[in-house]
Amino acid sequence: MRTVRKALSAVRWYARELTGEAEYDRYCESHRRHHPYAPVPTRREYEVLRTRRREEQPEGRCC
């Protein structure tokens, strides 16, 4: 049971990292570290920023 739970959380961790879902958490963490008194952007605001970035720098997909 414990190994199953461990494996599932590893899969979840990997999927979140791979898709960039975990980026927000990392961003908040570093934001709090560098600007301890500034409010952290909400998830919604952060995602808008993130897609705008993606807009400007298209990533090629290969054949």
Binding site: R12, W13, Y14, A15, R16, E17, L18, T19, G20, E21, A22, E23, Y24, D25, R26, Y27, E29, S30, R43, R44, Y46, E47, V48, R50, T51, R53, R54, E55, E56, Q57, P58, E59, G60, R61, C62, C63
Partner: protein
């Protein structure tokens, strides 16, 4: 992140390491297993062998190559240094640059390089038997493809993630740089056209396939809105919903096929071309969050899932290979799928999977900006490419488990096969294989398609092979139709993602280039500029797509060689740039590492290109074929393949265009090569290493243990 960690981890100068007896024993076993696989492949003559031997041979070789050759490359040739800070560390901004866990980055990089290429090429190359294809896929990746990916990744990493084009300009000069830039753009257009053609050939006249692939657009839009407005940023959850909807769409396609709605989804190839072109334009102009990003997530999940499923399927089902190990077409060059003999045409047909120039663009794009430690280029660059090569081996297996008769009935050009199963059966018999009309009808019925005759392009063949393998493991013969359409959907999804992203990348490149001439068009926020450049890019690949789809002689047969040569020429550019940089930085004695693959690749591409332009044989040479049909038009004759004079004129026009494009590609790459050679000679004559644009050493302050025990920040939120 332990920012205060002591900066003294990682390898120092390469010291002689002694292997423990245990690891000697393990690696001897791996080597023996691989050798046994190859021995079975080499020694079997005439009898059917199990596909498992191919897998064993490939995996054994990959393991040895990764353990020894990639380590040699990292330690001796590149001299990776884990005490040196990577751009991800030095320039960390949490946006473009941030150190990423190597397992995650491996996934990223693999998802970016793997697509439909390694699935299509090996299927077509099965025309020459499974042995030549397998040898090239495995040897090519070990000594050329993975080496290129790894070294380009390394060099770009040492230059803060510069693109291949920029590196060419900085390290070689303006002329070579410009030629490389134009070459990359032109080659991308052909790539998009050929990939789109694979989709058209897979979906034409198939209600099931067309319905389920069309449904991916509303699914992606739904995901986009869900992620933006309902649950911002919940990518994993959204992707799981998307995958579930996708599977429903595949099931729904079967239902549509049997209902009265079917006729609305049976589209002609020409209609599909216009839909794809329209779709490509819209996808390039819409905000990424709506269509492109969600589709990309969907495609990544499907990619990883299906490839894992395929590996399990091949090993459990352990199908026998029905194809011959080496067919006569390898030496005669008279094969119906693609013309020309083994050298050079096998090596341009199997491009991705063995050596793919396009990977150099990915390896010098986002990945180098995310690497934590220099030594990780080995796993990310070399390892990802080995994985892609394994995908190619599985695709080859899927094609070779089919009866050869069925393979040729599906992949020969329509002009050869004729309109019915009877004519197709006869045509296959003339090629020296047998399949009865009843068998052809039964094979189509098993996957619930109208017909399988003349379904060239690789995707349908792979889908039939995959359905054969999967049905043997999951669900039996009754599931064959589902698995067939699953495979078609999965390939179409890949390709449409490449078309979306490629059109967008092409648009940015074009804006960049045209911006030098007329400023406003270079602005990425000026709407008319976006529309004009998008339309130009879409129009360019759309033209080749339309020409290919309506080509009376079969677009795949005509354009696939152009695609393969283009891809391998791009690899030549990448290998030439890397060789030059190695020589410039005083590593002449290791220049053979990329120099030998470069010499081989130049020999292959220039021989193939030369034959495509100058061969007198109309089956191979574009201009020879053009002259033959032009002569016939003057004489007022109709030649085989053409049903009227318009067809004759189309053939003449297409071959002229293809021949001219081929010549332009060769000239562009020749410019780069000559420029590189000049720089290399200068570097060899110079007393010391020439200046390069490598960023100077800065000591790393992060410490990354071999395998992080704790997940990165954010895993437990």
């Amino acid at each position: 992140m332990p920012a205060s960690a002591m900066p003294e981890s990682g390898s120092k100068a390469p010291e002689k390491s002694r292997m423990s007896p245990k690891s000697v024993a393990i690696w001897t076993t791996v080597a023996l297993a691989g050798a046994l696989g190859w021995a079975v492949l080499a020694l079997s003559r005439g009898e059917e062998i199990s596909a498992v031997w191919l897998v064993v041979a490939a995996l054994g070789s990959y393991a040895i190559a990764y353990r020894f050759y990639s380590r040699f490359l990292a330690r001796r040739v590149l001299q990776v240094d884990d005490t040196r800070a990577t751009p991800a560390e030095r320039l960390e901004d949490g946006v473009d640059y941030h150190p990423t866990d190597k397992r995650v980055l491996f996934g990223h990089h693999f998802a970016a390089i793997a697509g439909a290429g390694p699935l299509v090429g090996p299927v077509l190359a099965a025309q020459m038997g499974y042995l030549p294809g397998t040898i090239w896929i495995v040897a090519g990746v070990i000594f050329a493809g993975a080496v290129q990916d790894m070294i380009v990744l390394f060099l770009s990493m040492r230059r803060d993630g510069k693109s291949l084009g920029q590196m060419a300009r900085d390290e070689i000069g303006k002329v070579g740089g410009a030629a490389a830039l134009i070459g990359v753009f032109a080659i991308m257009i052909i790539l998009l056209a050929v990939l789109a053609m694979v989709v058209v050939n897979a979906l034409a006249e198939s209600a099931w396939g067309t319905f389920s692939v069309t449904m991916t657009i509303p699914i992606a839009l739904f995901m986009g809105f869900y992620m933006r407005y309902l649950r911002p940023g919940r990518v994993v959850e959204t992707s799981l919903i998307g995958v579930a909807l996708l599977l429903l769409a595949i099931l729904g396609g079967g239902w549509i096929q049997d209902s009265s709605l079917a006729e609305y989804f049976v589209w002609s190839p020409e209609t599909l071309v216009f839909c794809l072109v329209g779709y490509g334009f819209v996808a390039s102009v819409l905000p990424v969050w709506m269509l492109l990003a969600p589709r990309d997530y969907l495609s990544t999940f499907m990619k990883v899932g299906t490839i894992a499923l395929m590996a399990v399927g091949v090993v459990i089902a352990a199908p026998n290979l029905k194809a011959e190990s080496v067919t006569d077409f390898a030496s005669t060059g008279a094969g119906p799928v693609f013309a020309g003999s083994l050298f050079p045409f096998l090596f341009i047909t199997i491009a991705c999977g063995a050596l793919s120039g396009f990977h150099a663009l990915v390896s010098s794009g986002t990945t180098p900006k995310l690497i934590q430690k220099e030594s990780q280029v080995r796993m990310i660059g070399y390892g990802s490419m080995l994985t892609e090569s394994f995908v190619a081996v599985m695709a080859l297996i899927a094609a070779c488990v089919l009866e050869p008769g069925l393979f040729y009935a599906m992949n020969s050009p329509a002009a050869l096969l004729g309109p019915t199963v009877d004519t197709a059966s006869e045509a296959v018999k003339n090629l020296g294989f047998t399949i009865t009309p009843d068998q052809l009808t039964a094979a189509a019925k098993a996957v619930e398609e109208e017909t399988l005759v003349g379904r060239s392009g690789g995707a349908p063949t792979l889908a039939v092979g995959m359905s054969e393998i999967f049905a043997g493991v999951f669900g039996g013969a009754g599931m064959k139709a589902f698995w067939y359409h699953f495979a078609i959907m999965f390939e179409a999804l890949f390709i449409l993602t490449t078309v979306d992203a490629g059109t967008r990348v092409g648009r940015f490149m074009l804006q960049d280039m045209l911006g030098n001439v007329w400023k406003p068009i270079g602005r990425v926020t000026w709407k008319p500029g976006i529309w004009i450049t998008s339309a130009l890019v879409v129009g360019a690949w759309g033209y080749f797509l339309y020409a290919g789809v309506t080509d009376p002689l079969g677009g795949i047969k005509q354009l696939f060689p152009l695609f393969g040569i283009a891809n391998q020429l791009l690899a030549a550019v990448a290998l030439a740039v890397t060789t030059t940089v190695l020589i410039k930085s005083g590593k002449l004695r290791w220049a053979w590492v990329t120099g030998i693959p470069l010499a081989w690749d130049v020999a292959v591409t220039f021989t193939a290109g030369w034959q495509k332009i100058f061969s007198d044989n109309p089956a191979i040479g574009f201009f020879a074929l053009r002259d033959k049909y032009a002569q016939a038009i003057e004489d007022g004759q109709l030649l085989p393949g053409a049903t009227d004079m318009d067809d004759m004129h189309t053939i003449v026009l297409n071959n002229t265009v293809d021949g001219v494009i081929m010549a332009i590609f060769l000239l562009l790459v020749l410019t780069v090569l000559v420029n590189c050679a000049v720089v290399c000679v200068r570097a060899v004559r110079a007393a010391g290493p020439l200046p390069t644009t490598e960023v100077p050493y800065i000591e790393s302050r992060i410490d990354v243990p071999e395998q992080p025990a704790e997940p990165l920040v954010g895993a437990r939120s």
